[in-house]
Symmetry: C2
Subunit: 88 residues, 2 copies
């Protein structure tokens, strides 16, 4: 396996996990409903992604910082909508 191939896999993986939250955000914006979504999941996930970003900052690894920085904002948005829409 070449280094370029391995890095491409990592790059595609990062794009997938980062952008995956967008369809959930769009769905909530359309329906205003978050009842079936777990608050605890997004609370713990948002904290975890924030710590991955801190880890990236400490290592000085820009891809980790960018991917987790964007994911953090998306997860925080879902968590906020869950708080706003409550049990609807």
């Amino acid at each position: 396996m070449t280094r370029a191939f391995v890095e491409t896999i990592g790059f595609i993986a990062g794009i997938c996990t980062t952008l995956s939250f967008i369809p959930q955000i769009v769905k909530i914006l359309k329906t205003s409903k978050t009842r079936d979504i777990s608050f605890v999941m997004y609370a713990v996930l948002t904290m975890g992604i924030f710590l991955w970003m801190v880890y990236g900052i400490l290592l000085g690894e820009l891809p980790l910082i960018i991917a987790n920085g964007i994911s953090f904002m998306f997860c925080l948005a879902i968590l906020t909508m869950k708080l706003v829409y409550g049990r609807r």
Copy 2:
């Protein structure tokens, strides 16, 4: 920052993002409802986490393999339940 401190941050981050899916699984098992959960999000996220695991295998990085291997199973479980329970 010591190396041990940086690794501890990464370790806690990995535990958070991996275990975060458990409350969502428990919630679905209790309610049998997945209507507000985005199918596209979990389809893309499951694929992304699978690719992170492949990336870990190619790099020979056991922490990446373990964390993403477990997360992959959890996400696949949520995706399967979304398919089974449909729009309920």
